[in-house]
């Protein structure tokens, strides 16, 4: 049977649009709130990425750092992340959810225990920012055995030889980092250039779903709609920060921005 992640991509393809992926931080700004946000936006989103926050995030820009620090400050623990995922899946059983974070958290939890827990919480995939190929080979194959997608990242600096190997070792989805940047940077490369590189990745193996992330906002999303999927993270985290600051309802505000994002790629 095809994975939920694969199915989400084919659904979007059938509607002739890219899949919309969002990234929010578990526990931002509380456990309850982040679950509410997740539930609400998932009506418009094809795949939900849920970050497990780390306090030394070496690849994240200011917006996601702020969300992560806020969640940690409010006491989020790894087991809470799993329970958020589990509760989400109880009511949205066909919506794929991907956990994303840094390797030390998995290492401290214990790889096997972590994957066992993912399985129990019905997590569909994992992105580990600081566990690149080939160091991730062992862990990626453990994921596969458990039926969890390990999502490889590819960047503009990835060489052709490396690209081939990474794609060969990948599961259903590949994440292309649009530019040399941390998350939430301003898109400093033209969409045309990004799509050129994207096509090169696609050419290697058409059956893999390739999403583009980093620097995607309401302004830029439309220009990249040819991709299989697009990830928006920092723009959403920023909206949460803004809502908290203005004492507005984060669930409503974030849902609205996600609706607008979706409308741009229909």
């Amino acid at each position: 049977m095809s994975s939920l992640i694969n199915r989400a991509f084919s659904n979007a393809k059938n509607e002739n649009r890219p899949a919309l992926l969002t990234y929010t931080v578990a526990g931002d700004n509380t456990k309850k709130k982040s679950l509410e946000i997740l539930k609400s936006i998932s009506n418009y989103v094809d795949i939900c990425e849920l970050g497990f926050p780390h306090n030394t995030p070496i690849a994240d820009g200011g917006q996601i750092q702020t969300s992560a620090y806020r969640a940690i400050k409010n006491g989020i623990k790894i087991n809470d992340v799993f329970s958020i995922a589990k509760n989400f899946k109880k009511i949205k059983k066909n919506k794929p959810i991907i956990l994303m974070g840094y390797y030390n958290m998995i290492y401290q939890y214990n790889e096997n225990k972590f994957l066992e827990k993912c399985k129990k919480s019905k997590v569909d995939g994992l992105i580990v920012v600081d566990l690149p190929y080939p160091e991730n080979k062992n862990f990626a194959s453990k994921c596969k055995k458990k039926g969890i997608n390990f999502i490889q990242l590819v960047s503009p600096t990835t060489s052709q030889i490396r690209l081939k190997k990474i794609i060969k070792d990948s599961h259903d989805m590949i994440y292309y980092i649009s530019m040399l940047s941390t998350t939430g940077g301003k898109l400093k490369v033209s969409p045309k250039k990004i799509l050129e590189k994207y096509n090169k990745i696609k050419k290697q193996n058409k059956s893999k779903n390739v999403v583009i992330g980093f620097g995607i906002t309401e302004k830029t999303i439309k220009s990249l709609k040819k991709a299989d999927g697009l990830v928006v993270g920092s723009a959403i985290c920023k909206e949460i920060s803004k809502s908290i600051e203005k004492r507005q309802n984060a669930v409503t505000n974030v849902t609205n921005i996600v609706k607008r994002l979706k409308n741009k790629i229909l």
Binding site: I58, Q65, Q108, S155
Partner: protein
């Protein structure tokens, strides 16, 4: 887990970059894979290139001022009784600390790779000051990332950096100290790795940075070996080499030539920052038995909680105020070749006072941690035991802290 002989410790890692099978590695975002691989290739070429080595030796001698002297601390030894205490006065190096070795080598590598921009992190401000000096010397544009808290407490070094034309980027995230500066510097490199070279300020970070830094500071022990042989005719039977350990760059540099000796002949003692006497916080992952974790691209003993969140650290010494430590020191700990202990803020201050009272030496708060251990053990040791402390930094930068804590100028 075993140490091998006749191979520099920096090269005793496996093909994945791990020392002892579990320390080090390169846990980096995909974007940094290529620049790290490029740097690895370039460094392995350069370190075997005679012209490059000649250039390095030229600048070590004429720019840094090698060799730094080895002096006997006669008054301190007499006062304490017991072992003879010596100091390798590495703070004589241009700029006032050992950080100049790593900075100079990184600037030379940056030039060799045709990059015009160099960035680095700093805690005490020495790594930043030295990088700004080297950048100026070799015509590179330089940015230094520094925690906002450290900028306040190490003003003299900040002034020096600015004078050298470097831009200091204050880091306000997290605890606003070295750990956050390193994170921010890495983030900057992720975004600018096509034009910019990154210098990691100690023997920490992804494998290649541990190697480059260790290769650079190893100059200290090459000099020391010659000096000991000249001073004592041959290498004495009982030596103790005491060094402070934050990231561990000066300690590795001080010890590298002596690792092959038996522990009973040359004991290696690393002194970490124990923090304030009654505080739970410290920066001593080795001596206070932290668990292995991944921080800034490498696996090492890391001060962290059960979840893997990195702990806040606390130390009077900004240069030692780091929750992780070099993977090569983890390796030396687990193979039991080196012994690690800690000194509290108060002990380090007391040691600073005692050393400056008896000797014409002004060790910064970092090596004062090492002196604290020397002062503690010397009276219990025999007269033919030679203790050598690496006095790796000068206390000029600590002016404000010393004034506040001791009321002196």
């Amino acid at each position: 887990m075993k140490l091998r002989k006749k191979i520099p410790l920096i090269d005793q890692h496996d093909h994945n970059g791990f020392w002892g099978g579990k320390f080090g590695g390169s846990f980096i975002p995909e974007t940094l894979k290529k620049p790290v691989e490029d740097l690895t290739r370039e460094f392995s070429k350069l370190r075997n290139n005679k012209k490059f080595l000649k250039k390095r030796d030229y600048y070590f001698k004429n720019y840094i001022g090698s060799p730094t002297s080895l002096v006997k601390l006669e008054n301190l030894s007499n006062h304490l009784g017991g072992a003879q205490i010596w100091a390798k006065v590495v703070s004589e190096a241009n700029g006032g600390a050992h950080k100049i070795y790593n900075a100079t080598v990184h600037a030379l590598i940056c030039k060799a790779m045709g990059k015009k921009y160099i960035v680095g992190d700093t805690g005490a401000g020495y790594a930043g000051k030295m990088l700004s000096m080297a950048a100026k010397k070799f015509g590179l544009k330089c940015k230094i990332f520094m925690g906002a808290k450290d900028i306040k407490r190490q003003k003299p070094n900040c002034d020096a950096m600015r004078k050298n034309g470097a831009e200091i980027v204050p880091v306000y995230s997290g605890s606003q100290t070295l750990v956050d500066a390193v994170s921010e510097c890495m983030r900057y490199w992720v975004s600018n790795c096509d034009t910019t070279h990154m210098c990691v300020g100690s023997t920490v970070g992804p494998n290649i940075f541990v190697k480059i830094c260790g290769w650079s500071t190893a100059q200290i022990s090459r000099e020391l070996k010659i000096q000991i042989t000249q001073e004592f005719k041959k290498i004495p039977k009982k030596i103790k080499l005491i060094n402070c350990v934050g990231g561990g760059s000066s300690a590795y540099g001080f010890w590298s030539e002596f690792i092959d000796f038996k522990k009973s002949r040359i004991e290696l003692i690393g002194v970490e920052a124990g923090g304030p006497k009654n505080s739970k916080l410290h920066a001593a992952p080795l001596s206070r038995n932290a668990k292995i974790g991944i921080l800034h691209g490498a696996a090492s003993y890391v001060c962290q909680n059960n979840e893997g969140q990195i702990n806040d650290t606390e130390s009077i010494s900004a240069g030692l105020d780091y929750p992780g430590v070099s993977p090569i020191h983890c390796f030396l700990k687990d193979t039991k070749r080196a012994r690690y202990t800690y000194a509290t803020d108060e002990e380090a201050l007391k040691a600073h006072v005692m050393v400056t009272k008896f000797e014409k030496l002004n060790p910064s708060l970092e090596p004062s941690h090492a002196f604290a251990e020397a002062i503690k053990i010397a009276p219990k040791l025999s007269k033919d035991t030679i203790i050598i402390v690496n006095s790796c930094g000068d206390a000029k930068k600590d002016r404000d802290i010393l004034k506040e804590r001791l009321g002196k100028n």
